[in-house]
């Protein structure tokens, strides 16, 4: 059997690859931050059932749910410069073709999250029983008071576990970014492999980092979930 895996090389790779997890974090951070804001807008707009806008959102969500993220990333990467290139260049003097690939990957993530989180938020709000709203009305609260004091706190309780699963999913999906040339963990592991001729250790390190961070995130959301249980077990 050949020399596939060396523990020494593995230890070296840990130091070489770990810093690049920050690039993956960067993608997750922007995707979740802006994605969540967009998703709240999507959820509220869908609950309001405004004609035309509702149909547009239904098609948008169906596209985001029905097509692979890798394809969405590539469409954003090749499509955005073609559609908005001249506009952005004339308005801000930015040449989209020169922009780092990570920008397009993040845009793809944001659009994807707007759809997925939007549906999660909408479902969570709908899951609060109508009697909760009626009880608020019956004691003379206004609709806005009921939304912020009764319905949303209960909806958060439903949404948190799903939000956690979604966030871990986004973190996992950042593993696709290297195909567009984003310099993250995967891409670093590959480069190191090409330059040294030993690729396996690098990808094992990537796999372990993904697993450990996923477990930590899962634990964090579990604790968060417990905080919002309102006495339920």
């Amino acid at each position: 059997m050949g020399d596939y895996f060396s523990f020494d090389r593995f230890l070296v790779r840990i130091g070489q690859i770990t810093p690049y997890v920050l690039v993956n974090f960067k993608m997750v951070f922007w995707a979740m931050l802006i994605g969540t804001i967009c998703a709240i807008a999507v959820a509220i707009l869908r609950l309001k059932k405004i004609p035309v806008i509702e149909q547009i959102l239904i098609v948008f969500i169906s596209y985001m749910r029905g097509t692979p993220l890798l394809v969405q990333m590539c469409v954003a990467y090749y499509g955005i410069p073609i559609v908005f290139g001249n506009l952005i260049y004339n308005a801000f003097g930015i040449n989209l073709n020169r922009l780092d690939a990570i920008v397009f990957v993040i845009i793809a993530f944001i659009l994807n999250e707007a759809a997925f989180l939007g549906e999660i938020f909408r479902g969570a709000i709908l899951s609060v029983p109508t009697v909760q709203t009626e009880a608020g009305l019956s004691i003379g609260m206004t609709r806005l008071q009921i939304l912020f004091r009764i319905v949303l706190p209960q909806a958060i309780n439903v949404a948190i576990p799903q939000y956690g699963v979604d966030l871990i999913g986004v973190f996992h999906n950042t593993a696709l970014a290297f195909t567009l040339g984003v310099l993250d963990m995967m891409s670093r592991a590959r480069t190191l492999g090409v330059s040294t001729g030993h690729t396996l250790e690098g990808f094992v390190v990537v796999a372990i980092i993904y697993i450990i961070i996923s477990l930590i995130l899962k634990a964090l959301f579990y604790l968060l979930e417990k905080k919002f249980q309102y006495g339920r077990r």
Partner: protein, 250 residues
């Protein structure tokens, strides 16, 4: 005095309320009886605008309100003068028993937190649940939840309280504790309209009994009259059926 005139309500093609009128004097306890689907609950919900009636007039405090065309301010005014006790309790799941009662006092009546807390604790004590003040609804039994629901209604000091089958979601052994609290409310002299299937309770607590069927008032009168000397055939049939099944008929 609350007066309701010619209330009508349809769900799609199903006419649930076909011209119902009712007036309730101050301090009077009125019990609405009738088979399921007779429109009692819908009628009650229309009074509190939880359901928008298709037609009808609500006269309260010398003000006449068109049930169909009521403005936001009028609706809020009625709701702030009344309270509603729900069949499935309707406690806010994200708030403790105490917070449930404080919510309306603080947010709607704009009382200070200390004052609201004091009133809330008093009314919890009044229904015998002071020790459960910091429990969430999910940690309370059905009977306890409903007693908190009643405490919440009473704490707001409303002119009248509407009870929508307050015991029909409860296990039989928890019905008694809830009914005795409702009797306590009745003794306070608050105007009450109660939808219930508890016959002996109705007989004991009601000043007047209304029998509804098919979206109309079939018969009304003092409890003894309606229960023992019903005039209408439909009332007789209903009573015969319900008394056969004892008091736990739903």
């Amino acid at each position: 005095m609350i007066e309701l005139k010619n209330v009508k309500k349809k769900f799609g093609n199903n006419e649930v309320l076909h011209d119902v009128s009712l007036s309730v004097n101050d301090g009077e306890v009125v019990v609405l009886l009738g088979p399921s689907g007779s429109g009692k609950t819908t009628f009650l919900r229309c009074i509190n605008f939880l359901e928008r009636a298709d037609a009808g007039i609500l006269k309260f405090d010398e003000e006449e309100i068109d049930l169909k065309r009521a403005k936001k301010k009028q609706i809020l005014d009625i709701r702030r003068n009344s309270a509603f006790v729900f069949q499935n309790y309707g406690l806010f799941n994200n708030k403790t028993a105490l917070q449930n009662i404080m919510e309306g006092l603080v947010v709607v009546q704009k009382r200070s937190k200390e004052e609201a807390r004091k009133i809330a604790l008093d009314s919890l004590e009044w229904v015998g649940l002071k020790d459960k003040a910091d429990y969430y609804p999910s940690q309370l039994s059905g009977g306890q939840q409903q007693r908190v629901g009643i405490a919440r209604a009473v704490a707001l000091n409303p002119k009248f309280i509407l009870f929508d089958e307050p015991t029909s979601a409860l296990d039989p052994e928890l019905v008694g504790e809830t009914l005795s609290v409702i009797k306590k409310v009745a003794k306070k002299g608050i105007t009450m309209i109660i939808v219930t299937h508890e016959m002996s309770f109705a007989q004991e607590v009601a000043d007047r009994v209304i029998f509804m069927d098919g979206g109309v008032v079939v018969e009304e009168g003092a409890p003894d009259e309606v229960f023992y000397k019903p005039k209408e055939e439909r009332t007789k049939k209903f009573l015969a059926r319900i008394l056969q099944k004892d008091m736990y008929y739903i």
